[in-house]
């Protein structure tokens, strides 16, 4: 799909009335997180990278998001929304075991690391997890579908779309305080909103 908002970058608004201090502070901190600092180990990090790249690809015309780093930090800090289904352990444990299970699944199916699988094989494996059709024994104690529905998808997706690059790519207005919006009608936009181009 043609990138409709190729020329738009929410970060251009960083120093305008659309952003307040608090927002600048939390977005700056988020964008500066790095994968290596999280400390979940190189092997798991490699699995996580491949997983994130399949679930949440980077936008084409915008800077890549540090989604892996965001998620790795979230995992290490065990920072969830608190609730979890009875079948799953807490966030950190769940993710660490889940990453190991994905790796084991790749070994069981293809005899090689998940990180080394091509896109097609990686996706087929992930669809297996999504459907609960798995081979590795790790999944006995960690129901694949629950892991997929309650951890993999919500966690990756929420980290990815909390990065400004993804906001730019979708033409989202981004942070908006103190300045909000004036023109609310259909097909109207304020000068500080993204202009849409392309296939409309």
């Amino acid at each position: 799909m043609a990138d409709r908002y190729a020329h738009y970058d929410v970060l251009d608004k960083r120093d305008t009335p659309s952003w307040n201090d608090k927002t600048r502070q939390v977005i700056d901190a988020r964008m500066s997180l790095r994968e290596a600092d999280a400390g979940i180990g190189e092997a798991r990090l490699a699995t996580l990278r491949r997983l994130v790249s399949r679930i949440a690809p980077q936008p084409e015309r915008h800077a890549p998001a540090n989604t892996v780093a965001l998620l790795a930090h979230k995992i290490v800090k065990d920072e969830g929304e608190g609730f979890r289904p009875a079948t799953l352990p807490r966030l950190r444990e769940c993710w660490l075991r889940g990453l190991d299970a994905i790796e084991a699944e790749a070994q069981a199916r293809h005899g090689r690391a998940f990180a080394g699988l091509d896109a097609e094989r990686a996706d087929a494996l992930l669809r297996g997890i999504e459907a609960g059709e798995t081979q590795a024994s790790d999944w006995i104690a960690l129901p694949a579908r629950d892991f997929w529905n309650w951890r993999v998808i919500p966690d990756i997706v929420s980290m990815h779309w909390s990065h400004p690059s993804l906001w730019s790519a979708m033409g989202f207005g981004g942070p908006a305080s103190p300045r909000g919006y004036v023109r609310l009608d259909v097909n109207r936009r304020d000068p500080w909103e993204a202009e849409e181009h392309g296939d409309g």
Binding site: P17, G180, V182, R188
Partner: protein
């Protein structure tokens, strides 16, 4: 810019009134001044409002052009030919009427048609009406000057007709202010002022017109209304500053806050009202 557009005609009026001239001439000056103030208000208001509307329809520049021309003609104090002036006044009336029709059509085709929500938030009917009034006031002034020159002018512009125009204009402006202040739920008691003083003024003037005799109360009410228009602009400026982000967030708040250029239209009409009173007086004394 708006400051100057207001000050110039006011100064001129004061100068003119200070020197003796015919009643018609003095009245004409009031009408010109009123028209100039009104034109200034319309110009600034339609500029902001149509900027909000992103000038999505090319016709949205018309009121800006027309009001600018009216401002120049009326503010220029008779230094233009009668013909040029007439063209400008007629254009103001036409653009205003056109705008009125267009706004009415536009509101009607919104979801829900003429429901209150659309009357409150969509294209306002009062604003183009003010441009029509600008044209009328200017034309009245022109006709008055003509009569001064001794040409054969039908006594069309009687004090009563002129007074009726001003009273009607005041009533319309009150309706507009009332609607918008209702939208703001009259959250500040001062918001009641423009729906209490100007209506009295309009009534008083209408009574004068009906009786063809100016009553002593009318000039006071006109003066209060004129002052109120200026105070209103100041109030609105303060209102803008109270919105989130204050003046630093002016790109939002000038549009989202109360309209600063709107209240002075009361001032413009009140100034013209003095002209009408002069004419009425002339009638009784002469």
């Amino acid at each position: 810019m708006r400051g100057r557009s207001l000050a110039l005609p006011l100064v001129r009026i004061l100068l003119r009134i200070a020197r003796p001239a015919s009643r018609e001439a003095r009245a004409a000056t009031f009408f010109t001044g009123g028209a100039a103030v009104l034109a200034g208000s319309v110009l600034a208001d339609s500029a902001t409002e149509h900027y909000r509307g992103s000038f999505r329809n090319p016709a949205m520049v018309l009121p800006l052009l027309s009001a600018s021309a009216s401002l120049i003609i009326n503010g220029g104090g008779g230094s233009f030919s009668r013909k040029t002036a007439d063209v400008v006044h007629v254009a103001a009336g036409a653009v205003g009427l056109g705008g009125l029709g267009f706004h009415a059509w536009n509101v009607g085709r919104q979801t829900g048609g003429y429901r209150l929500g659309n009357l409150l938030y969509k294209a306002p009917l009062g604003a183009p009406g003010a441009l029509v009034l600008t044209g009328l006031l200017g034309a009245i002034a022109g006709a008055l000057r003509e009569s001064r020159a001794g040409a054969v002018v039908p006594r069309l512009v009687t004090g009563r007709a002129a007074g009726a125009v001003v009273a009607f204009g005041l009533a319309g402006t009150v309706a507009e202010a009332g609607l918008l202040h209702f939208r703001g739920a009259f959250h500040n008691p001062a918001m009641w002022l423009p729906v209490s003083i100007p209506p009295l003024t309009a009534l008083s003037l209408a009574r004068d017109v009906a009786r063809a005799i100016p009553s002593p109360a009318t000039p006071y009410l006109l003066a209060m209304t004129a002052t109120l228009g200026l105070a209103g602009a100041a109030f609105h400026a303060w209102g803008v500053s109270r919105n989130m982000g204050g003046w630093r967030n002016w790109r939002q708040n000038l549009l989202a806050g109360p309209p600063i250029p709107a209240p002075p239209s009361f001032t413009g009409l009140a100034i013209a009202g003095f002209g009408a009173l002069l004419l009425l007086k002339g009638r009784t004394h002469g």
